[in-house]
Symmetry: C2
Subunit: 339 residues, 2 copies
DNA sequence: CTGAAAGCGCTTACAG
DNA sequence: CTGAAAGCGCTTACAG
């Protein structure tokens, strides 16, 4: 069953395909096309169940109405939720989205960008990896619409929507300190990503301003490889050896999940033996016993803002638009893990 | 900066674009194109950083090398992992994937199918909703390649890859019974989906074969709306009222998460007060205290099998291929929640 | 060994 | 008020 094309309709009606195209695109009136013929076209199109070939349309129009979302790993719950929100928002504008995972590997990111540009995606939403500056600059130079999400590359001026990592962390750590947990440890992933740097800084400044000394030894930066084991080590070191900390701040969901597992393995109780707070929120955190105090990011809003900025830029492709930087607040959700 | 096209290269070299196309597609030899000219083309293409416009290629070739994955909700951890696995497998064949969420709504599924067909995706991997038979049949009639995943529509003969829901559940419930938990409850979602039906049947048969009477009243089917509250109700009814059950089987991850939360809220302890087993596994289940016994689905394998079947069918579009049905075993992971 | 042409299905500027 | 033509960038069958 061959799909019906413009030509099929035109031939059956004995008119030109230009006319059919015009009618079907709702441009009959402005081109002063007769009402009777318009009617006929519309009717036949419906009968034949005509559906325009979007590939042909894209080629002609030079746009595909497809955007790409590139994140570290779409199976990570944080990015999965982002993916869903991006999908929903893009749908409102008639755009489809292609998801890709960079695995935090800048070269994979670069490769993905190339392939997707060949496929004529109209723009990108990117959660950039470390060392991706080169590729992002190339995008910028080639005037390809994109917006950075979750992380940005500070010196470079781009569209971005991120969260107030510094203040969110500062506030949460301050909360711990005021609860009396002077010895609050900080476990994070070692990476040069902007968001991670800001979270660390927020922690440091809170500790400093509260007059805690020697907090440098309360910090552990964990590597991506052997992630769970390394987090386990960090937890053990901080809680059992020299420092004897009574509270821990986890800089990401993945850190938090791995850390809580090893706290359980050590048979330590939350919050009696150790109070915890985590950046990022997740279903699991609400369901844990006790539920985990968390800094929730407004994922839906981040995603929809990013889509809006992107599509806006796509629509005015050639007029120079100002780059938009959005910083959203987080929500500090106090649960039983820290009181 | 306009992208360089075949014509640009042809013009600069004073040859035809046919020749350039042939060379760039590695068909120089079989078309007996001179070595020197081939070299030149390759060199210039590299210099100009030529990247073929895949849209034009798609239009000409009648295929887009894009597949679509339609699931209930891509932000659900189960489907998020599936998404990632599909992405990775498709990548091996040079295919990209568009993700879409049906929200378990058959009409949305139908709409998605239409839109994506217009965009000339080459095929679909679909986790069908209830009442989607009509749309799936249409796909089949129009000879559009697709494979069903996670759930199938039994009377209809299609490609599918699912898990052995019946035996997995039977085995797990039997395990419970043998541990002495004769009063094992079953909480599931009310839906006519094949996988849910099989799980329920597995439970029933296990109970029956073990000679447990009156297990009908140990079953709760929960509705999608007010999901968490309804699961909470079911948990409370089963554990606190008439039956006084001491064990619970959760038919899905979402049921399990919600149920465990309400068990915690009731201040009941797992496994001392109530033993639990859940279909589906997740990070959270490993990290809970105590860790939850679970039936793990081989998501990566399901996904890669589905992609392989689909792409195979796409490649031989017009030769009638036999439909492939794959049923994969699950893994029963015993943790502390049930002993 | 290489080029000219047709065509994928669409949209739009132009002519009448 | 409507049609013929050009063109988006590619691939491939055909001619020479």
């Amino acid at each position: 069953m061959k799909k019906t094309s413009l030509n099929d309709i035109a031939n059956k009606l004995g008119v030109s395909k230009s006319l059919v195209s015009l009618v079907l695109n709702g441009k009959a009136k402005q081109n002063r096309i007769g009402d009777e013929i318009s009617e006929k076209v519309l009717k036949l199109a419906k009968e034949l169940n005509y559906q325009p070939n979007q590939i042909a349309r894209s080629l002609r129009l030079g746009r595909s109405e497809t955007i790409a979302l590139i994140v570290a790993d779409i199976s990570n719950p944080f990015f999965a939720r982002m993916g869903r929100a991006v999908e929903d928002e893009a749908d409102k504008f008639g755009f489809k989205v292609i998801f890709s995972s960079s695995d935090e590997n800048p070269d994979k990111l670069g490769e993905l960008l190339n392939v997707l540009i060949d496929r004529q995606v109209d723009g990108f939403i990117i959660s950039p990896t470390i060392k991706s500056k080169e590729y992002i600059l190339k995008l910028k130079k080639n005037n390809i619409p994109f917006v950075l999400i979750d992380r940005c590359l500070p010196p470079i001026k781009t569209n971005s929507v991120v969260v107030d990592n510094y203040n969110s962390t500062y506030y949460a750590v301050k909360f711990m300190l005021e609860k009396g947990y002077k010895k609050t440890g900080f476990i994070t992933v070692s990476s040069g990503l902007s968001n991670m740097k800001e979270r660390l800084l927020g922690y440091k400044d809170a500790m400093k301003n509260f007059g805690v000394r020697g907090y440098g030894s309360y910090i552990r930066e964990v590597d991506y490889k052997n992630f769970n084991e390394s987090v386990g080590e960090a937890v053990k070191e901080l809680l059992l050896t020299q420092n004897n900390l009574r509270a821990l701040f986890f800089a990401t969901l993945r850190v938090g999940m791995a850390a809580i597992k090893s706290i359980n393995d050590l048979k330590l109780r939350i919050p009696q033996d150790v109070a915890v707070i985590s950046f990022d929120d997740a279903d699991a955190y609400q369901i844990f016993y006790p539920p985990i105090t968390a800094i929730a990011q407004p994922i839906d809003m981040m995603s929809s803002e990013a889509v809006k900025i992107l599509i806006n830029e796509i629509k005015q492709k050639n007029v120079k638009t100002e780059k938009t930087q959005i910083v959203l607040p987080t929500e500090f959700i106090i649960r039983e893990s820290c009181c």
